[in-house]
Point group: C2
Chain length 151, copies 2
């Protein structure tokens, strides 16, 4: 079948199939005389595998590992589990971070009238001085020069 049909059957867009091929996640396919890519049911199966992993938030790099583990009949489930749990850890850290953000904002919104008055705790909090301005990445490769460099 052609790429469009493989896309429809796998749920991975034709664009992405070509991209996955270009980065080596999937091998180069056979082509017709005129250059059309040709896919087998087995290829579609692989694409569907990839799509599921992607839907679970795995990165392309992780997916590459999972695909090769999938192909390896002798694999140890230990490795798969390790990748999965590592990813769970990443997801959970991200969740916590978002929850922190949402919590802060909800709290601020709760104390905001939300009417026509200009008073707004949300803005006030954002503008407040009481913030640590920690990990910085400036152009400077070393700390600030001297002391009274400011003007």
């Amino acid at each position: 079948m052609n790429i469009g049909q493989a896309a429809a059957a796998s749920g991975v867009s034709a664009k992405m199939i070509r991209y996955y091929e270009s980065i080596g996640l999937i091998p180069k396919t056979v082509r017709t005389e005129s250059g059309y890519r040709v896919y087998s049911d087995s290829d579609v199966h692989t694409l569907r595998f990839i799509r599921r992993a992607r839907d679970l938030g795995f990165s392309v790099e992780q997916i590459a590992d999972l695909v090769s583990l999938w192909r390896d009949r002798e694999r140890a489930s230990k490795e798969v589990k390790r990748i999965a749990l590592e990813h769970v850890g990443v997801l959970e850290r991200k969740i916590e971070e978002l929850q922190q953000m949402a919590g802060t904002l909800k709290h601020l919104a709760r104390t905001c009238h939300g009417d026509g008055r200009p008073d707004c705790p949300i803005i006030e909090e954002l503008a407040s001085e009481a913030a640590q301005a920690p990990p910085l990445k400036t152009d400077a490769k070393f700390g600030l020069l001297g002391k009274a460099t400011a003007r």
Copy 2:
């Protein structure tokens, strides 16, 4: 002060300060004769405001709105609250999505031995046929042609 000092004082990297200037999030600064950007304490205040909003996950576009609302003494808190709550909604949808992913993976990992044996429910689930392959975005602008186009 110079950009490096403004960066250190605000927690926004020099790179990002220039970027924010280039996209118009912050106005162009005064320059010294030799072209160095010069920042005031007030500018640093703005940058810190921006950094906080960014830390709360607001997009640059939203931050631009928040900054202009901040500058507007006559603003209605209603608008600020609307932006904040809209963002909370986005965050919560994202959280739910990630929780779904993490939940599925944890469930799969729980049923995986994680030892040297090749049996692995995680891989099996990813490879299973039982998946809907719905919303697709192919190159094709219309559905598949005819019926027996495949070869």
